[in-house]
């Protein structure tokens, strides 16, 4: 059965839905501010865990304080295997390779040479640690004696409150790239570099092909030949690619999630920034799809016109 949709009805219903959504949005803002933390939550203030970084005394002069805290940050990056982060090959926002310097006991006394050993990683660009929420503090990643931990807030059942705990995890986290890292050997990295390099190169070529197709389309229009079969094909290809790109990236991120399933914990979340930029591709793709439909109609009309004697 073919459903007939009246254009006026469609536009009216879309406008109504937008108005209702706006009303809900404002209602949530107005009513949401009256929420408060209920009284039975007791915050545990005492910290059983030793601090991750050595505490820099804040009674020091500013320059000294800054220097010391910078040094502490550097040592932390070294301990986390995330210092002097060097990139590798990667497919945008899905997976990549990289490396960094790792040293567990370095104190950075000597600043002239680079301390630590090189550690290679697979970078999972689509995944990061869960951001802090209104009730839980942020999750802090740190490595002690070669074992990765995340420090997070959990519910303390005995005391009816919250406490900070260190949970051992298998993955590593990069502060510079804000993504998860899986430690690998250098030979595996070489193989991955070749595979990813080939894929990245093909994507690169494909992108150039799409740009060339678009330029040819513009040239054809300026020549006065807009409604041709090749133009229709180009428009369709551009539209499908633009719409498929975010969907494929999204799916690939979940394929990565499945492949490295035993590295993942509930504290890992999909990166919002990655998801956020995708609507541009979708909208551009939809516009191209509409252009394709319009040109298809145009081609039919032109054919009819040409065959009218």
């Amino acid at each position: 059965m073919k459903v007939k949709i009246n254009t006026n009805f469609l536009v009216n219903s879309i406008v109504t839905i937008i108005v209702i959504l706006l009303l809900i949005y404002f209602a949530v803002i107005i009513l949401g501010t009256s929420q408060s933390v209920s009284d039975d939550i007791v915050y545990v203030t005492e910290d059983y865990l030793k601090p991750i970084e050595p505490v820099v005394s804040d009674s020091l002069p500013y320059s000294e304080y800054k220097e010391l805290s910078k040094k502490a940050e550097k040592i932390r990056d070294l301990k986390n295997g995330d210092w002097l982060h060097f990139g590798g090959i990667g497919i945008a926002e899905v997976i990549g390779t990289g490396g960094a310097m790792y040293c567990d006991t370095c104190t950075m006394a000597n600043t002239t040479d680079i301390p630590g050993v090189k550690q290679d990683y697979i970078l999972l660009h689509g995944w990061t640690l869960k951001p802090e929420s209104w009730i839980y503090d942020d999750i802090v990643f740190h490595i002690e004696n070669g074992q990765s931990y995340i420090r997070k807030t959990v519910k303390d059942k005995r005391k009816y409150g919250f406490k900070r705990v260190d949970v051992p995890v298998k993955f590593r986290y990069s502060r510079t790239d804000d993504c998860l890292m899986i430690p690998i050997s250098s030979s595996l990295k070489m193989i991955l570099n070749i595979v990813l390099g080939v894929i990245e190169f093909s994507i690169f070529i494909y992108m150039f092909y799409l740009i060339a197709a678009f330029l040819k389309f513009i040239v054809d229009i300026s020549k006065g030949l807009p409604f041709t079969d090749s133009n229709l094909r180009r428009l369709k290809l551009i539209a499908v690619s633009l719409i498929a790109f975010p969907i494929i990236t999204f799916l690939l991120n979940y394929v990565v999630r499945v492949i490295f399933n035993n590295y993942f914990t509930p504290d890992v979340a999909a990166k919002i920034g990655v998801w956020g930029s995708w609507w541009r591709f979708m909208i551009t793709g939809i516009i191209f799809l509409m252009l394709f439909k319009a040109f298809k109609q145009g081609k039919t009309l032109k054919e009819e016109q040409d065959l009218t004697i």
């Binding site: 054919e303 009819e304 065959l307 009218t308 004697i309």
Partner: protein
């Protein structure tokens, strides 16, 4: 298409060549051959009028419907 264009029959009766007809009717050779081979999707009444005038015939002499 069940509509057949008998332009060549009429042209043979009047002993008129394709070039001559196209010049007199005022349409291009390419369009006339599209019409003759039956690829045309539509015929303008104006064109039909011109052809009928030049070939001195009725539209029914040129167009025929077969089941």
């Amino acid at each position: 298409m069940p509509i057949i264009i008998n332009l060549d029959v009429m042209m043979a009766k009047r002993k008129m060549s394709l070039t001559e007809l196209s010049e007199k009717v005022g349409i291009t050779m390419a369009n006339l051959s599209i019409l003759k081979t039956g690829k045309a999707k539509a015929v303008r009444l104006e064109t039909l009028e011109n052809i009928c005038r030049i070939l001195d015939c009725q539209p029914g002499d040129i167009l025929e419907y077969v089941k």
